[in-house]
């Protein structure tokens, strides 16, 4: 039964998916031994066809499915999808082809990330594809988009104004740095160096420089955007926050900033270092308040908007009372406004980007897909996987696989972990999807009844090799391979009159580390003879239409 040979394959060019001599081996630690999980399987699937792959646990059927997907890549052999050999592709090329080839897994709950919402999970393939187009990886993609938006907006300002802004920003950076240096010079006389100086002093300097750099870029963006942002957008940020939380935040922020200003002015005489420290502290305080506010009220954008505005307000106050001259004040106003913009931009965007992007761009598609698989989008999108039943989770998996509009769907025991009643639902859903989207299925299962139901062609696998391939009706009616017969007789019939003793299996599955020589099934085969251990049988057609790899088949050969 060690079916090598390709007699059962349809001519080249006809099959959508064609697997030839697929071998998957796993090394066992440092022992040098190898698990022969899949040893030379050849298989083809026509467009629109469903091929069922059956066999006992451990026969390598799931490994075959995963090897076709390239996780991990097969040890040798070829996987042709639309005449393109997937095993020879680079990672990038493979990533581009992935959408055509999707997979559904056995354990529906485990195949969904417990920390992400259903809407997020179903949109994930789209996000991956989109990020592939935008840039590599989430961070770079985000930066790239952000930078392009930044440039686009900056371009809308007239050129003289841009030059002026750049000059102002440079001036401000120089000013901040010189003031900071000034602050350092006072070290010996003023409070700057007091007790916590060695802890606070250096970081404050770093923060100063960092702020100056941020402000340098921020001035540009803010001024350009301030003229462009429509009022609705701003009020849209602020609207969702509850008045009570907003008021509470405003009140405490005002109190804190007043206190800071009072202390700073009163006891320290407007020393620059202390003013900056007050500003930094205020921003830190308001940021913490923002965290609290967003924890209380999930409308993060609104809370962040309010908090950031208050931060810059408090920051301004500190500077204002410090009695700076008019020009400096103007620059500081610009700077803190830029800081405001940046806090909103960075915090809100970074936090809300995934969600908003998913919702705005992919939400209609995600909802449609969920509806197609029979879930109510409104109640499902925001839920987490652990709130779903097994059947529901499998529907979500199907939706996730189908959202990329794949050509081939590999179903790795998709119903084995489900209740019997839910199995039927899921199988019907798969049939519907197949018709609706013209899918081609490779259906891996150990349940013969399920396979017979859904398949146009069945392949029986044993210990990494194929035994028999054929149409389900003829294969089930006239099994040619002793192993197929054994599998069929092992089906549990709900009839007490049938004697279960005849279904007894001769022995356990041999080890895949050192499989039997010749025909791999010979150790359990009732018809085995000496010849079986010496030569490996090849795939041959039978008179009734299936192909079998056996020296002594149960059906006459054609």
């Amino acid at each position: 039964m060690a079916g090598t040979g390709k007699a059962h394959l349809r001519p080249h060019g006809e099959a959508l998916l064609r697997v030839e001599d697929l071998v998957v081996e796993f090394k066992i630690g440092a022992t040098g031994n190898v698990v022969n999980a899949v040893s030379g399987i050849s298989l083809d699937v026509l467009a629109g066809e469903t091929v069922g792959l059956v066999g006992e646990s451990g026969c390598g059927k799931s490994t075959t499915g995963k090897a076709i997907m390239g996780v991990p890549s097969p040890t040798s052999g070829s996987v042709l999808l639309d005449a393109v050999d997937l095993t020879g592709l680079s990672d990038d090329e493979m990533r581009r082809i992935r959408p055509d080839l999707q997979m559904i897994f056995q354990d529906p709950i485990s195949s969904l990330n417990p920390r992400r919402s259903i809407g997020d999970i179903v949109a994930e393939p789209l996000m991956i594809k989109r990020e592939d187009q935008v840039g590599h990886g989430p961070v770079r993609g985000w930066l790239k988009r952000y930078a392009s938006r930044f440039v686009a907006v900056a371009e809308t300002v007239t050129k003289p104004l841009r030059v002026l802004l750049v000059l102002a920003s440079v001036a401000f950076v120089l000013w901040v740095v010189s003031e900071a240096a000034e602050g350092r010079r006072f070290e010996s006389e003023l409070a700057w160096t007091e007790v916590p100086a060695q802890i606070v002093g250096f970081p404050v300097l770093v923060i100063l420089v960092a702020m100056a750099v941020v402000v340098f870029a921020g001035c540009l963006v803010w001024l350009a955007l301030a003229a462009m942002i429509p009022f609705e957008v701003v009020s849209g940020y602020l609207a969702p926050i509850s008045p009570a939380v907003g008021l509470l935040g405003a009140a405490s922020s005002a109190a804190v900033s007043w206190f800071m200003v009072y202390r700073t002015w009163n006891s320290l005489g407007g020393n620059f270092a202390w003013v900056v420290r007050g500003g930094v502290l205020t921003v830190a305080t308001v940021s913490i308040m923002w965290l609290v506010a967003s924890a209380i009220k999930p409308s993060r954008a609104g809370a962040a908007g309010v908090a950031a505005s208050l931060a810059s307000l408090a920051y301004l106050q500190v500077f204002y009372i410090a009695g700076l001259d008019a020009v400096t004040k103007l620059v500081v106003i610009l700077a803190s406004a830029a800081l405001d913009y940046f806090i909103v931009k960075l915090v809100v965007k970074k936090l809300a980007m995934r969600r908003s992007d998913t919702q705005r761009r992919f939400d209609p598609l995600v909802r449609e897909m969920l509806e197609v698989v029979g879930m109510n989008p409104d109640s499902t999108v925001g839920r987490k996987p652990h709130e779903l039943s097994g059947g529901q989770a499998q529907r979500v998996s199907i939706a996730r696989a189908l959202i990329m509009n794949p050509k081939v769907l590999i179903c790795d025991e998709p119903v084995s972990a489900l209740d019997v009643s839910v199995q039927a639902q899921t199988l019907n859903l798969l049939q519907d999807m197949k018709q609706r989207y013209g899918l081609t299925l490779l259906f891996i299962a150990h349940d013969l009844a399920v396979v017979k139901n859904v398949s146009d062609r069945v392949a029986v696998m044993y210990l990494g090799k194929l035994c028999e391939v054929g149409a389900p009706d003829s294969l089930f009616a006239n099994p040619a391979h002793p192993y197929t017969e054994l599998l069929l007789s092992a089906i549990a019939h709900p009839d007490p009159l049938i004697d279960p003793s005849i279904t007894e299996v001769p022995a356990d599955l041999p080890s895949a580390v050192s499989p039997p020589s010749g025909c791999r099934f010979r150790t359990r085969c009732p018809r085995a003879e000496e010849h079986c251990g010496q030569r490996e049988p090849q795939m041959r057609p039978t008179v009734v239409g299936q192909y079998v790899a056996c020296h002594f088949p149960l059906v006459e050969m054609g």
Binding site: R95, R96, R98, L112, R116, Q198, H386, S389, G391
Partner: protein, 293 residues
């Protein structure tokens, strides 16, 4: 949690309520830590005595209206010194734990995800460092390298980070290994997600609770280590007050003025207990959610 055949509500309200329950002790810990951290951060602007000021004739005074926690042998205000001491303790511990969280978390995730030889080497180094008592390492490093007093804080942090990386990486590695086995990681691979994406989007959210809760416990340990180092006079040098130094200075007066040592000691104990409790509760919360699956 009951699994409906294919119905809607599968989670009973009781489990939802339980997983979100926040007990009074947890609140107490959070409030205590926030107040302490807030006071330490804003110590320079708080209306409290200068930590260096010596008040004439108040030596070893017990708590009173002017000096809430009393005074030490020199006449320093203990309340003010406790708050300024928290600056050192919390900064060193928090920065140390944070850096260790980032570095150790990163190393642990990489080792747990990629496995193989890199993992073996990292694990071996990690296990080796785990055998050495951290306090001894800290003390001998400080004594041996004897950095200038100015840079003592950064040196302390560096030593603490080095000591904390291995235990954090170990926890994260184990957690990452478990989560990498789940099928959603395989599913992400079949969708074409790269390793960076899988690590950040699929694994990190699942590893984060363990990482954060364990880092809190590491932070508590660092506070104790800092205290011990300060007790030996090897932490941030005077005049900067530290809890360990305060305990040390009050040691000789334990019979006549026990509050000089006991008050900073109590704060250290409360802080460590609060951090440990917080870390434990976070982990519980996390495990509870897991068990629902």
């Amino acid at each position: 949690m009951g699994l409906a055949v294919d119905g809607t509500a599968t989670q009973t309200p009781a489990t939802t309520a339980r997983s979100k329950q926040v007990g009074p002790v947890l609140w107490l810990a959070v409030v205590y830590l926030s107040v302490l951290a807030g006071a330490a951060i804003s110590a320079v602007v708080l209306p409290i005595h200068e930590p260096d000021a010596t008040f004439r004739g108040t030596s070893r005074d017990g708590p009173n209206f002017n000096h809430w926690f009393g005074n030490d042998a020199v006449g320093h205000d203990i309340f003010s010194r406790v708050i300024y001491g928290a600056q050192v303790s919390l900064t060193v511990a928090a920065v140390g734990a944070l850096l260790a969280l980032v570095i150790g978390g990163g190393i642990g995730m990489l080792a747990g995800y990629y496995r193989g030889r890199v993992d073996a080497i990292i694990t071996a180094i990690g296990d080796a460092t785990l055998v050495i008592p951290p306090l001894l390492v800290a003390i001998s490093l400080i004594l041996f390298l004897d950095p200038t007093a100015q840079r003592r804080v950064f040196f302390l942090i560096a030593v603490f980070v080095l000591l904390s990386i291995a235990p954090i990486a170990r926890v994260v590695r184990a957690s990452t290994m478990v989560w990498s086995e789940r099928e959603f990681v395989l599913a992400a691979k079949t969708m074409g997600a790269g390793d960076t994406r899988i690590l950040l989007r699929e694994l990190l959210p699942n590893v984060a609770p363990a990482l954060i809760s364990y880092s809190l416990i590491v932070m508590a340990n660092l506070i104790v280590v800092e205290g011990a180092v300060a007790f030996l006079g090897l932490s941030v040098p005077p005049p900067t007050p530290t809890w360990g130094d305060m305990i040390n200075k009050g040691r000789t007066d334990l019979d006549v003025a026990p509050h000089v040592s006991l008050i900073p000691a109590a704060f250290m104990v409360f802080t460590v207990v609060a951090l440990n409790y917080l870390g434990d509760r976070l982990r519980e919360q996390f495990e509870q959610r897991e068990s629902l699956l």
